[in-house]
Symmetry: C2
Subunit: 390 residues, 2 copies
C-alpha cells in the first residue's frame, strides 16, 4: 500500500527534523533545556483555575459541555474584544494559535503560492506553510530600514516576475521567535505600505506581546491597517498552553471564511476551557498573574544575559530581547549547531539549532535559547556546559 | 483583493448550505428541533466533571497546563487502549473526532483522488473530503448483499478505469449518521475483502457505537483487519461534546503520519480535558453514566417511533435504529425536504434535509430526525407540526 496525500513526503521529512524528534525522546525536565517555548510551570494559576472550573460548571451547567458556536463562546469573544479594543464581530476563537496559522494558510494559499516572512521565522509556522506546499521567501532583518525595504522589494518583485502570487507576509513583530527582536513603528508601517502597494495580506502572529520586560509597547500591525491584517493571539503565554486556546482578529469577510474552514477542522473550540479563559481574562485574574510572570521572566532573561556574558567565548554574540521567551545566539562562521546538537544533548544541554528557523538553509552558526522554562538555579550550569562545547 | 486558497470556493458554497446556516440563526432550544446531533443535556455528568477537575489539578498540578505529547497524554491513551483492547501505541488522541476525519483525509488524499462512502453519509465528513477536493463516490445500501457487492465493484472499477486512485472507504457501520442503520458482520467482511482486493484503506467512524439500545454488538471493521483500518472514536456521546476529544486507532505506520500532521494543526490536544476524560473512562464513571444515557435514549427513540406511527401520513417510511441518535425518513417521490425547510422552520420545527448527506444530489424526499436532543414532553407537538406540513 502506498500512502501519499496532500500532506506530502517533503513535509514529513522536514517535520522529522531532530528538533521535533527530541521532544519524543528526551524529558526536558531531566536536562538543562534551553529548547522549546515552554512557560515556567510556576506561572500557571492552579488555584485560580480550580476555582474557575467549579464556578463555570455552577454558572453555565450543561451549556459548558454541549457543542458551541464555531466562532467561540460569546463570553470569550467579548473578553478578547474588550481587552484589545476591537469589535466582537472581528474576533474568532481558535483551538490554539497554531490552528490560527493553519487555518489562515488553508483559506489563503494554493500550492506554489508565495508566503513572505522574516528569516529566521517561527518553525511551527514554516512547517504549516510547507504542508500546504507554499513557497517560502524569507528576508533577513536589516537595522538600516532603507536597506531592509530594498530587500523586501527585491524578494517580492522576483516572485511577481515569475508569475507567482504573493498571498501574505507572516511576521512576529514583538519579541520574535526565534530572534527575540521587536519591530519599531516605522518598520511596521513599511510592511503595511508594501502590503497595500503589492496587494497582499499580513498575518501578524503575536503570542508574546504581553510579556514585555522593558520599554514601551509598539502599536500592533493590525491597528495600522485593520482591513489587511489577520492578528493571531494566544492564551498559551498569558494563561497556560494546556488550554490550547487562541484567537484571530480580522476583517469580517476573512473571519467568515475562517469560520467555515474551522467547522471542517473541529466544529468548535473546547467549551469549558473557553468559559474558564473568559472569566480569567475579564475578572482581573489575568492581569495579576501576568504581572508575576513578567517579573519572573525579566529576572530569568537578565540572568541568562549575565551568564552568557560570563561564560561565552570571544566571537559569540546574542540578541537582547525586551520581552518574550527567547534570545538568539550567533557563533563564529564555520560552526554548525545542527551537528553540534548530539554532543550537546549527550552533555545534558538542549537548544534549538537556528537553521531550522531559516527558509533557505542558512543560519548554521546560530541557535535559539529559551529562558522561561529552565529553573533559574540550574541556568548557570547549563550555560557553563554549553559554553564548554563551543 | 482576491481571496482564494486550497480551501476552495466550491467548498465554501457547500458549507454555506442552509443546514449550517440555521445553527447561526436559530436557538435550537426555542424550537422543536430534530436537527443537529446534540446529546441530551441531562446526560452530561456535571458533578463528576466538577470533582474530576479539582482532583486532576491536585494530582497533576502544572503538568495539566503545560504543553503535552502530540499523541495525547499517556493516561488517556492507556484508558482508550484498555477499554477497547488495542495496544497503546495504536492510539492517537484527537481534538474532536471531526479532527480525526480531517487529519486522515489530509495525510491520504490528493486533489482528484476518490473517497468511497455510503450514500447517504455524514455531512461533516463529506464537507471535509470536499475541502481537500476529493471526488466522492457514494454507494446506496442494499439489503441483498450480492447486489450491494455489485454496486461497490461497479463504482470502484469505474474509478480505476479512468485512472483515478481510490484512497479509502469511509463508513459509519454502527447506527449510521444519517440513516441509523447498522452493518452486519457479513457486510463488514465484504468491505474488508474489497479493501484488500483493490488495495485501499477503510476509515471506520464510530462515534455512536456504545449507544446500543437493543441487539448484540457487531465486531468493529478494525478488528477484522487492523492493518488496513483507521478507527475513529469520540468522547462527544459518552462524556460530552464540549471536551472536543476523540481518538484514532490504527497501524503505527499510519499513526506516525497522523502524529506529524497533527503537530502542524494544533501541537497537542487540551491537557486538563484529557486528564479528566482519562479518569472518567478508567474509574467506572463512564460506564455508570453511559447506562443512564442508554436508558434515556432508548425511551426517546421508542417515543419518536410511536409518534411517527401515530401522526405520519400514508406513504412516509422510516428506519428503526438499534442505537445512536438518528432515524431517517423517506417521503413519497416528489417531496423536496430542502424546499420544505423554510416552512418547517417558520412553523417552529427543524430537521436536516437528506439531500445534504448525499454525494450525488439524490435524497430530496428524505430527512434526518434526531431524537436525543428534544425533551420527551415536547416531542409529540414537534412530530404533529411536522406531519401537518407533509
Amino acid at each position: 500500500m502506498e500512502y501519499s496525500g496532500f500532506f506530502s513526503e517533503d513535509t514529513f521529512s522536514f517535520f522529522r527534523s531532530p528538533v521535533r524528534e527530541i521532544f519524543k525522546k528526551v524529558d526536558l525536565n531531566e536536562i538543562y533545556s534551553f529548547a522549546g517555548g515552554y512557560p515556567h510551570a510556576s506561572t500557571f494559576p492552579l488555584e485560580d483555575i480550580k476555582a474557575l472550573s467549579a464556578a463555570v460548571i455552577d454558572k453555565y451547567g450543561a451549556k459548558a459541555f454541549q457543542y458551541g458556536a464555531t466562532q467561540g463562546v460569546p463570553e470569550l469573544r467579548a473578553a478578547v474584544s474588550a481587552r484589545y479594543g476591537v469589535p466582537v464581530e472581528r474576533v474568532q476563537i481558535t483551538s490554539s494559535s497554531q490552528q490560527g496559522i493553519d487555518v489562515c494558510t488553508r483559506i489563503l494559499v494554493d500550492p506554489g503560492d508565495v508566503i513572505l516572512t522574516s528569516n529566521p521565522s517561527y518553525l511551527g509556522a514554516l512547517q504549516s506553510f510547507r504542508s500546504y506546499r507554499a513557497e517560502l521567501v524569507g528576508v533577513q532583518h536589516d537595522s538600516d530600514i532603507a536597506q531592509w525595504e530594498r530587500k523586501w522589494r527585491t524578494a517580492i518583485e522576483e516572485c511577481l516576475a515569475t508569475g507567482k502570487k504573493v498571498k501574505f507576509l507572516y511576521m512576529i513583530p514583538d519579541f520574535q521567535n526565534p530572534s527575540g527582536e521587536t519591530l519599531d513603528l516605522e518598520e511596521r508601517k513599511l510592511l503595511v505600505s508594501l502590503a497595500e502597494e503589492y496587494d497582499f495580506l499580513i498575518v501578524e502572529d503575536s503570542p508574546y506581546r504581553e510579556l514585555r520586560y522593558e520599554g514601551e509597547p509598539v502599536q500592533t500591525i493590525y491597528s495600522l491597517c485593520p482591513e489587511r491584517v489577520l492578528h493571531l493571539g494566544s492564551f498559551s503565554k498569558i494563561l497556560a498552553p494546556g488550554f490550547r486556546l487562541g484567537w484571530i482578529i480580522g476583517a469580517p469577510e476573512l473571519l467568515d471564511r475562517i469560520y467555515v474552514c474551522k467547522q471542517s477542522l473541529d466544529l468548535c473550540p473546547p467549551i469549558m476551557d473557553q468559559y474558564i479563559a473568559a472569566e480569567f481574562m475579564s475578572s482581573g485574574m489575568l492581569d495579576r498573574n501576568l504581572a508575576k510572570s513578567i517579573d519572573l521572566y525579566r529576572t530569568k532573561r537578565d540572568l541568562l544575559l549575565s551568564l552568557l556574558e560570563k561564560y561565552m567565548p570571544e566571537g559569540v554574540s546574542w540578541t537582547h530581547p525586551e520581552g518574550g521567551l527567547f534570545l538568539f545566539l550567533t557563533l563564529p562562521e564555520g560552526f554548525d549547531t545542527v551537528k553540534l546538537y548530539d554532543r550537546a544533548l549527550a552533555a545534558g544541554v538542549a537548544y534549538v539549532a537556528g537553521a531550522f528557523f531559516c527558509t533557505d538553509g542558512s543560519g548554521l552558526n546560530t541557535m535559539r535559547m529559551n529562558f522561561s522554562f529552565l529553573a533559574s538555579e540550574r541556568m548557570e550550569e547549563g550555560v557553563r556546559i554549553l559554553a564548554g562545547l563551543l
